[in-house]
Subunit: 96 residues, 2 copies
């Protein structure tokens, strides 16, 4: 069978990215606030604004943290991915 497609690899990267950062400290299936801040400042500089600001990051965490446990689960991380991709999709739709 042929190797994975670009689309399959891209999905894998989005999922794996969560675990790459989550496994650094504490629960391996949750992003601590610090892990989340490291993740956005390293990976999302061109898509989010203020990724280097602790205040902005903490505000974003609060908006994503549906169960208010102070950590970001995979589902909560995926909410952010969804939001960013929806925006990209809307922008792309304007240019077709």
């Amino acid at each position: 069978m042929a190797s994975y497609s670009e689309l399959e690899n891209s999905m894998h990267k989005l999922v794996k990215n969560f675990y790459n950062y989550a496994e650094k400290k504490g629960e391996k299936d949750k992003l601590t606030k610090r892990e989340f801040r490291t993740m956005i400042s390293s990976e999302l500089n061109h898509v989010l604004t203020n990724t280097q600001s602790k205040e902005a990051a903490d505000k974003l965490i609060k908006s994503l943290d549906a169960d208010a446990d102070g950590k970001i689960s995979f589902d909560e991380y995926w909410t952010l991915i969804n939001e960013m991709c929806m925006k990209m999709g809307q922008q792309m739709a304007l240019n077709i």
Copy 2:
């Protein structure tokens, strides 16, 4: 500013993939059934089963086509991306 991160590129690829196929025929912001079938048989062989079967593809289209217009919108496409990524996430969670 540095170049886009892997995460940003991956999101862009998932979004762009929809428009790459949607623009081939008819409405440029909808996948026709044929475009959808071409897309899954070209891009999702390792993540979905039966991607070469017209029957399986049409069944999948029916399950995604929330507004029942016989075409797949970006939001409907994204439902599929979500489902596949959730499954990948669950499998990855078992291996940490």
